[in-house]
Each structure stands twice: as C-alpha cells, then as structure tokens.
Symmetry: C2
Subunit: 229 residues, 2 copies
C-alpha cells in the first residue's frame, strides 16, 4: 500500500505516540493531529485494510512491520530535512520543524539520498533526534527527562522536543541545545520551576519547558564549577 500524504501523517503520529510510551487510540491520535475522532476512525480503517496497523486488545493500535517501515521512512525524511535546512540553508532552529513537516511528503527517494550524502549521513537532527537508517534497525529510545535528574547533578542535554517553536526559541536563547551540560539546581515544590545553570547563568524552567528536555546525568556533581570534557 502506497501511503498518501495524510496516511503518512497518521503513521508518523502512531509511531511517535508508541515510542513516547503513550497509548495509541483513536482519541490520542485525534488530539495529536488536531482532527476529529471520526476522521481517525475512518483513516484507521483504511490503514487496517492496507495492513499497516493492527488492533491489539487493550493497548490500542500497533504498526505492522510494513506500517513501521513506512513510518520510519517519513521520520527519516523529516529529520534529514531538518538537518539539511538548518545546516545548508541556514533556517533557524525553531523553524525547521514546520518546514520539514510539509516538505517530508514530497521528497523523492533520489533527493533524499543526495541530501543524506551531502550532509555526510548524519546520525542526529538539530534537536538531537536520531535519524533512522534507510533500512535496518533503528533505536528511537528517548533518554531520561531532565525532570528525573537529581538536584546537584550535571546533566547533558541530548534531545530537545521540536514541537513548540516559541519554546525552542526561548531555549536556544539561553543556550539550551543538544550537547550542552547543565547543572540541576533546586526544584520548587508543587509543580514549581526547576532551577538550572547553563553557561554560568541561572534560569527557572517551568514544567512546560522541562518536559521538552531529555538527556542523561553526566556526573552526580557536588562542586558547582569546573568544566570537563
């Protein structure tokens, strides 16, 4: 089954919900894509007919091998395009997602190949998301959320969710990008902000922002400064 542009969007949404650990149901897909529940019902029926998804009792929908292959193809094109737009065209960090979102459906295999080669077969896009290979296994696992890091730890940002341009612009403004090390400070109680130190400056991040940041504890730092590689 050759997926249409709309079907590709659904497959991608299902893939993302699954890898994020969310349940994959009519309503979660509808929320994610901003469409009505009956629209999802209809599309899921088409995807089932095309053997791209199946229903697993309880959990909801699961991609078949073919469905996952198609989803990964779209994800690959999306992330390659993001990388290309950022590195070659000079599109700012916070804009690449939206541009890639529309272009990903009209990128030919041939052009995808060329872009991939031009970029030197990158492994990650500008937000730190792994770029699936053209074929073969792919590991989409997310690193730990920043919120899981203990106070006093030094945390290395690995991925920054690319969905909210305004948030991305703000995070880039204070230097929070993949690869950056931050010191995790105090956490205000009852959903209050988390204090972090980036580049020597302290910032209070609300939950809306901390949820976007994933990475790993680099060292359970006790001492405040001293930069190591």
């Amino acid at each position: 089954m050759q997926a249409t542009s709309a079907a590709e969007d659904y497959l991608k949404a299902i893939y993302h919900l699954a890898t994020e650990g969310e349940s994959v149901t009519t309503s979660t897909i509808a929320r994610r894509l901003g469409v009505s529940a009956p629209s999802v019902s209809a599309m899921v029926k088409r995807l089932e007919a095309g053997k791209l998804v199946v229903r697993r009792g309880e959990g909801g929908l699961v991609l078949t091998a073919g469905g996952e292959r198609q989803a990964l193809r779209v994800v690959r094109r999306h992330r390659l395009l993001e990388t290309f737009l950022a590195e070659v065209v000079g599109v700012p960090w916070d804009e690449v997602h939206d541009e890639a979102e529309v272009l990903e459906h009209s990128l030919s295999d041939r052009l995808e190949e060329r872009i991939d080669a031009l970029l030197g077969h990158p492994a990650h896009d500008p937000h730190g998301d792994p770029i699936p290979p053209r074929s073969g296994p792919h590991d989409e696992r997310w690193a730990d959320p920043l919120t899981a890091a203990p106070t006093g730890a030094r945390f290395r940002i690995e991925r920054v969710s690319d969905r909210d341009p305004d948030a991305l612009r703000y995070l880039a403004g204070i230097g929070l990008r993949p690869g950056v090390l931050v010191d995790v400070g105090a956490r205000a109680p009852f959903g209050g902000p988390l204090w972090v130190t980036v580049d020597g400056a302290e910032h209070a991040l609300g939950t809306q922002l901390t949820n976007l940041l994933h990475g790993a504890v680099a060292r359970a730092a006790k001492k405040p400064t001293r930069r190591t590689r």
Copy 2:
C-alpha cells in the same frame, strides 16, 4: 482564492501555454497535464468561480490578474527550486525539473525567501528560464527558436526547455547549455536534421531537439570560421 496544489498545476499550465503562444483550451490543457477533458472542464469551472481565469471568445481561456499572480508565484518557486537544487544540492541538470515539480507546491514563502537570498537573487534558472520576481512585472518572452537562425549564423543559446530529461541529458552531453555559442550549419530538407557546431564538434539535431533550443543570433557569420567545414 487560495489555490490547491492541483489548481496551481492548472494555472501554471495555462500560463505556459499562453506564453508559448499556444491556444489555451480544454483540450490543450488536458494534453499538457495528462488528464481527461472532463477533468479540465470541472477545474476550469472552479477557477472561474475563484476569479482566476475568464473565457475570451475564440482564443479560449485567459488568466485574470489574480490568476496570473498565482501562476507566477508557482513558476517562481519552481525555477528557484531548480536553481537551488542544481547549485546547492548538486542535482544534475536533467533531474531538477521533476524534483521541483513536486516540491514547488509545499514551499513556504519564508523558505522561498531564504533560498532566494542564499542564491543571491538569481535572474535565471539552470535552463535559462527567467525567474519571476516576488512581485512586480515579469517578462517571460521566449527568445527566437534555433530553427529560425539562418545557415552560417552564430547563435547564442539562451533557454533550453526543461521538459524532457532524456533530451536534456543528451544536450548537456554535447555541451548545449544556456550561454553557449553554436554555429548553425546546413539544414537537411523535409524535416531533416539541422547541423550545428558546438565546441568544434558537429552534431545533427532532429526537430525534437531543435524545438527545445531558443536564443538569439550573435552574429550573422558569413565566413565559415575555421571551426565549420
């Protein structure tokens, strides 16, 4: 009226037919786009409702000011993309048209601007076609066809029609690109080939090829410069 992707294709086809001096009718559009006549009838009705085309007795269809504006936007994006793909991505001459054909419908204004600036606001695409400005007047006039050049003249190629990849590949192979000077030789009668000298080598071009080449006589050469035989 915000044109859909399909409507953009029709507007572009109408624009091209008109500027090429062809009649703009249901059947010529259908032939150009490879769709059935009733499909054209239906789309023309929608375009008329959207005030993008009007019927002129006899000649057929004519773009309104708004229709031409939209057609030029698509043509601009197409030619900018061709230039971008060729110069920045390294896509071969004969492939850029097909790639641009699909991407042109999903290029945002913002990205179009960036690409235009990155390229230094080019005036022509790789085939020599003029890139319409974002707004303001645009001159699409085609130069004279090579077939109009007298025997013995030196002819400067300005535009090479980009529609046939195989022909383009062949022409590129023998050095026939925009900006190149050719010496027009003998013309075989009854639709026979036209002999031209490019880069010191003589080639016989069939009408299928000569129709793709447009330019201007650079000098009405009388003496067969040592290159010609």
